[in-house]
């Protein structure tokens, strides 16, 4: 194939710039291969995070020509090469160095979601019975590889920096996987409203568009969760029932 030009963001937490590189691109190469080639030839200290190189671990997230992508699953042959290909780190998280950013906030946000709590086992040997159809309903959410591209593209985090008040699409998917898990008995709706900030999502579906696993984040995870939140937190009948049962008085949300 041919020599292709790249503009790669180089810098640290404080400052940086795009620098130009060229490298030879051959058949079947993905963007991560090109970055590695540039690292080997011209920029031995170019920082890039990667691992499985097969779209299964979600480490090599970056923005390629402005689009949040996994570099290992973006084929060079699918990109226009008339102009240099621009690669930069995700924007919704603090920069560390070059293409690497600090995604530790995601791990902290996840910890705040109440963990899985199963019903007692169905059989004496400690196992449960579930139908494939019930399992299939959450399988989509469990495909998530935690690449955080959905967090990166979400304007609530990216533009407005509401990391303190909104857990983002990834963790709403996680919450949906727990809430719709056939064995789970926990309720997370109040926390999703009060601490998870589910109300911030105004369903622009950008997250669904960038998901490399093809998870229908907005329609299948967030909207059903919003419906549950409405039922549990705002439904006046349920609210009265809860008060009669001795539940705590609701705060105005």
């Amino acid at each position: 194939m041919a020599e292709v030009g790249f503009e790669i963001w180089r810098g640290d937490a404080e400052e940086g710039e795009f620098r130009s590189y060229t490298t030879e691109v051959t058949e079947g190469m993905v963007v991560l291969d090109a970055v590695h080639r540039i690292q080997a030839e011209d920029a031995p200290d170019l920082a890039v995070r990667w691992n499985c190189k097969a779209g299964r671990c979600g480490s090599c997230s970056a923005e390629v020509n402005g689009m949040p992508r996994l570099m290992c699953m973006t084929r060079m042959s699918d990109l226009p090469t008339a102009r240099p290909i621009r690669i930069e780190p995700m924007k919704a998280f603090p920069r560390v160095r070059d293409l690497v950013c600090d995604v530790s906030w995601n791990y902290e946000a996840k910890k705040r979601i109440k963990p899985f709590r199963p019903r007692p086992p169905d059989d004496a040997d400690g196992s449960w019975r579930m139908q494939q159809a019930d399992v299939d309903r959450v399988m989509e959410f469990r495909k998530c590889i935690e690449c955080f591209l959905c967090q990166d593209v979400c304007h609530v985090l990216r533009e407005h920096g509401e990391h303190e008040r909104f857990i983002g699409p990834r963790h709403l998917v996680h919450a949906a996987a727990l809430e719709m898990h056939p064995l789970d008995t926990e309720t997370r709706t109040r926390e999703l409203w009060e601490e998870g900030g589910i109300g911030f999502c105004n369903i622009t579906k950008c997250c669904t568009e960038v998901c490399p696993e093809g998870i229908t984040i907005t329609d299948n995870a967030i909207i059903p969760l919003k419906e549950r939140v409405v039922d549990d937190v705002f439904d006046p009948v349920r609210r009265v029932l809860r008060t009669l049962r001795g539940g705590t008085e609701e705060k105005a949300p």
Binding site: T26, P44, G55, S59, M73, Y107, K111, V135, M139, R142
Partner: protein, 605 residues
């Protein structure tokens, strides 16, 4: 004396794949304070790549299955070099470990009556692998991760351990650096568990990511522990071969479990041409019988595609050598043909193998429901590792435990598919429990600050070298990979192994002189230099053991000794650092198996 970021725990776990996380969960449950130290972000370890499933004799699909059959299958697959006690514990405990995982939120595919579905895999007599599509590893690691983060453990991400620290004979800590800043950290602990996975990056074609550089093997070896069975490196028969940038990436054995067949360029199912004696009675005579097996007919015997990985890998190489390979030097793996024989056609394939469908479509531009895949052997797994006690997983060095791929014993000369996910659950749990108990009984011990200073100086020394060295760390790693691939790979012989040993020694001398440029922050060149010590150590162990074992058995194939030698059949090889600093090998007779276990093997044929 320099200041280091210091952390104190009862137990530290090095590695956050399945074994490390399972160990950390268990140690936490036992009341220990636990620090997990891992090279990547949490949840990215290579366990996510495990596709086919986790082996456990639940008996949900075929009730003839039991721990005894699983035990016998594991021993046969390992050519009886396995630690029989580990194989027994593994087979007995795996079902509970899988059920327990469901209690932590993991979800597996179901049988029609709502139980965990199990699929066929090479070397397993009955459908035994609990699975979820072809992303079982992701499901397991996520379940362990999401459970683990609520158990109180600390996770030190993107931190690499370079040396274990000792108090006399006992391991009491670890020295590490963080990737981001290159700052050093000192971990002080009552017990240390290494769960660092494999050594695949010592070879050119591998399914392993950059992390798999034999760290735990080398940390333990440097601390005085023994490595065992290092000649046994598993080459998975089906890695991607095209395009070049994805060469080596795994194509799950689940493809063959679902009915995928291997053909040569003449369209022939060449695996029918040669069936090993030990498996003749269990292998289908006809293509039709093999397909019935894949569809769950209990009367049918398995197709030859599901013979053990070592055999299938060698047969693919032989077809390529005979000029009957695929265009890019592999064989054709065809799952598309089952379309006309199953309900749902192409959709059935996509549902059973979604990851493979996605991987080939995105990376190779191939629709596996329409076209065959091109596949060839790829370095996948090392059976060898730290020699441990079967019950406790403690190495021969007090306070040092090992679990998962970096430990040895369970798999003998060859691992069966699906047995690694069960391995890491069963023995991760045991390591965690016993490490916590050890730490609680013995207290923290002390750290030798001289050892800490010496390690810091060792790591910084290459920055002070001014030229004079030959090449750079990346080049040395690439040369090592070529040597291991070409001279200590699937087919071995004495002369090539001798050359390989000389070459590895020469590379070690070069690594001792090569300069490292730049600074300590996120410096891939420096990290590679640090990894080289580990890669060279495990490579030397592989070569020496492969040269010593003058027979062909399991994953170890000698061109100059093509047959099995009964004298070697009762012998493991261990490697440890001798008094002169050189690696020395020792032959160890395998202890006599109890009559009860012998009887099981006889009954299972």
């Amino acid at each position: 004396m320099a200041e280091y970021e210091r952390h104190e725990y009862d137990v530290i776990v090095i590695g956050a794949g399945g074994a490390g996380l399972r160990a950390a969960v268990e140690a936490s449950a036992a009341g220990a304070s636990v620090g997990v130290v891992c090279k990547s972000l949490l949840g990215k370890a290579h366990t996510v790549m495990a596709e086919g499933g986790v082996a456990a004799s639940l008996g949900n699909v075929d009730e003839r299955d039991s721990w005894k059959v699983h035990f016998a299958d594991t021993m046969r697959g390992g050519q009886y070099l396995n630690d029989w006690r580990m194989a027994e514990l593994h087979a007995r405990e795996a079902p509970d470990r899988v059920r327990e995982l469901e209690g932590w939120g993991a979800l597996f595919d179901r049988t029609p009556d709502g139980r965990i579905l199990q699929r066929n895999f090479g070397g397993h007599a009955y459908p035994r692998l609990a699975h979820v599509g072809d992303r079982t590893g992701l499901e397991m690691i996520r379940a362990l991760q999401d459970h683990g983060i609520h158990q109180g453990m600390d996770v030190h991400m993107e931190v690499t351990v370079t040396r274990l620290l000792k108090d006399g004979e006992r391991v009491t800590g670890a020295f590490a650096y963080d990737r981001e800043r290159g700052r050093f950290r000192v971990f002080h602990a009552g017990a240390v568990i290494v769960a660092t996975g494999g050594i695949g990056r010592a070879f050119r074609v591998t399914s392993n990511s950059w992390e798999y550089t034999g760290d735990g093997h080398t940390l333990a070896y440097d601390a005085g522990a023994e490595l065992m069975d290092m000649e046994f490196v598993q080459f998975h028969p089906t890695g991607m071969v095209w395009p070049p940038s994805v060469r080596g990436i795994l194509v799950t054995e689940g493809v063959r479990g679902e009915g995928g067949v291997l053909r040569n360029s003449e369209g022939r199912r060449f695996l029918f041409d040669e069936i090993p004696e030990a498996y003749r009675d269990q292998t289908a005579d006809t293509e039709e019988e093999g397909w019935r097996y894949c569809q769950g007919d209990p009367e049918a015997r398995r197709p030859p595609e599901l013979l053990t990985r070592d055999h299938v890998a060698r047969r693919i190489l032989a077809e390529v050598a005979a000029g009957r390979g695929s265009p890019h030097g592999g064989a054709f793996l065809d799952i598309a043909w089952i379309k006309d024989h199953v309900e749902g056609g192409a959709e059935h394939i996509k549902r059973k193998l979604p990851g493979m469908h996605h991987q080939f479509r995105e990376l190779a531009g191939i629709d596996i429901t329409e076209e065959p895949m091109e596949v060839g052997p790829t370095t996948h797994y090392v059976m060898g590792g730290v020699r441990v006690d079967a019950e406790t997983q403690m190495s021969t060095v007090p306070g040092l435990f090992a679990a998962g791929e970096c430990a040895s014993g369970l798999h003998g000369a060859n691992r069966l598919g699906g047995n690694s996910l069960s391995d890491l659950l069963v023995f991760g749990r045991r390591a965690g429990a016993h490490a916590a108990a050890f730490a609680s009984e013995r207290g923290p011990g002390s750290l030798d600050m001289e050892e800490v200073e010496a390690e810091a100086a060792r790591l910084l020394e290459p920055f002070r070298r001014n030229g004079g060295g030959d090449g750079n760390p990346h080049q040395i790693q690439h040369e090592l990979q070529s040597i291991m691939q070409d001279k200590a790979g699937i087919i071995r012989e004495a002369d090539k192994l001798g050359e390989a040993l000389d070459a590895v020694r020469a590379l070690r001398r070069r690594a001792q002189r090569v300069p490292v440029s730049g600074n300590r922050e996120y410096n891939p060149g420096w990290h590679t230099w640090i990894d080289l010590h580990n890669l060279l150590t495990v490579s030397e162990a592989v070569i020496r053991a492969a040269a010593e074992r003058t027979e062909s058995r399991g994953a170890h194939t000698r061109d100059d000794y093509p047959g099995k030698d009964p004298a070697w059949g009762g012998m493991n090889l261990t490697a440890r650092r001798g008094a002169d600093g050189e690696m020395t090998l020792e032959r160890r007779s395998i202890p006599e198996m109890p009559d009860e276990l012998k009887r099981i093997i006889e009954e299972q044929g």
